[in-house]
């Protein structure tokens, strides 16, 4: 079943075209990698999908509903966006995850909201850190807490902007494995903007290569990951080892 449909989306910052006629649709239970060099429009596309930016042309549909016609509260119920960098406040991990329930509350969180937040923490294996302040957590732990928050929002399309950018290789693969598991178990569509091609190759079902705001290639990861496309997008020689599932760059 199609959960997300992006149709002919174009967006410009003043006179610079950042997204140019982007069209694709995604089904549930899939991990999607959004790939491309810096400035290719990955973050702008994620923000546009989440309705934080309004496209000049085109439209975004989630569960057949036009995102830009929905209220912010209703968008938050179907789309969960995790930015690249969050301001770390002095909330505990549990309090932070609980803020994802904001679209569902009028005045205070219900018992159900608290249960959902605890379940989300349990799902990402961070329940034992629930009373820790965010300021006391490592980068990898923080990223898992962000994932728990996205889960607690109840949205079925989750957007992650470079979740592995500040993590060591072990933590990065743990985060990607976790996202893959969530997409399979919880029927979520997960879109991840990512620079690490090996991680994208290993853990994503679908890959979208962007360059200068345009889609260069889109399709099943095994099919679109090849040296020609990587050379075209990143302007660097690379080798895709299909057996070891790694991408090697020749700098």
């Amino acid at each position: 079943m199609v959960t997300l449909k992006v149709s002919n989306v174009s967006l410009s910052y003043s006179s610079v075209k950042v997204l140019n006629d982007i069209t694709f649709s995604l089904e549930e239970n899939s991990v999607v990698s959004l790939l491309g060099p810096n400035g290719s429009g990955k973050t702008t596309l994620l923000k546009t999908i989440d309705g934080l930016l309004r496209p000049n042309n085109g439209s975004v549909y989630v569960n057949c509903k036009l995102v830009h016609k929905l209220s912010r509260k209703d968008v938050a119920k179907v789309l969960g966006y995790v930015p690249q960098k969050l301001e770390v406040s002095e909330l505990t991990a549990f309090e932070f995850v609980l803020t994802a329930r904001r679209p569902y509350v009028d005045f205070d969180y219900s018992k159900e909201d608290k249960r959902i937040a605890l379940d989300a923490l349990k799902e990402v294996g961070m329940l034992q850190f629930k009373d820790r302040l965010l300021t006391e957590l490592s980068g990898g732990q923080l990223q898992k807490i962000y994932i728990a928050r996205a889960l607690a929002s109840g949205a079925n399309v989750l957007l992650f902007d470079e979740p592995t950018s500040n993590l060591d290789p072990k933590a990065s693969s743990e985060v990607m494995r976790l996202l893959k598991r969530i997409s399979l178990l919880s029927n979520k569509t997960i879109i991840i903007s990512i620079h690490d091609l090996t991680l994208a190759y290993r853990y994503s079902d679908i890959s979208i290569f962007l360059k200068d705001g345009k889609i260069v290639a889109i399709g099943k990861t095994d099919e679109v990951f090849n040296t020609d496309i990587i050379k075209l997008v990143y302007e660097i020689d690379a080798e895709v080892d299909k057996n070891k599932k790694i991408v090697i760059f020749y700098y």
């Binding site: 934080l52 938050a76 930015p83 301001e87 803020t99």
Partner: protein
């Protein structure tokens, strides 16, 4: 007496409103992007909360005058006690602030009796070292996390 009580209550009412917005305050501190993606209109909320804050500050100040450091020290101490969640921070800050004011007023009346030292001067003496200590503690914490 009744008018005076009414005035005092009117002065504290905006705090109740801020308590109502405690979830939104938690969100806005995390940044506009995360606040908006959680269903909050960040710009509108900033405007409304700034206006409310101006009201919350202006009304009591117009009745009792300027009290330096109280608004700075009380929330910081409150944060040390209950953490950053505004649901607990707002009432705790109100309690800590009123206790600080009471202590400062008491000290001002008894230090060189029968002369009364203005509460603002006493609060400056209490508030300045507290703020310096808090700043040093925070810097120490940041250095540790680096």
């Amino acid at each position: 007496m009744a008018t005076s009580l009414y005035n005092r209550h009117f002065g504290t009412n905006p705090i109740t409103l801020f308590y109502y917005f405690s979830i939104d305050l938690d969100l806005i501190i995390l940044g506009d992007k995360i606040a908006e993606s959680s269903g909050l209109d960040a710009k509108k909320f900033r405007l409304i909360s700034t206006l409310l804050l101006a009201l919350a500050e202006a009304v009591p100040t117009s009745f009792i005058g300027v009290v330096p450091f109280l608004g700075l020290v009380a929330p910081h101490l409150g944060r040390l006690i209950v953490g950053g969640s505004h649901k607990y921070l707002i009432p705790t800050s109100a309690l800590v602030g009123s206790e600080l004011l009471l202590v400062a007023d008491l000290l001002g009346r008894i230090i060189i009796m029968p002369i009364t030292i203005p509460v603002g001067i006493i609060l400056s003496f209490i508030g300045t070292p507290i703020l310096i200590i808090l700043a040093v503690v925070r810097m120490g914490g940041n250095a540790k996390s680096l």
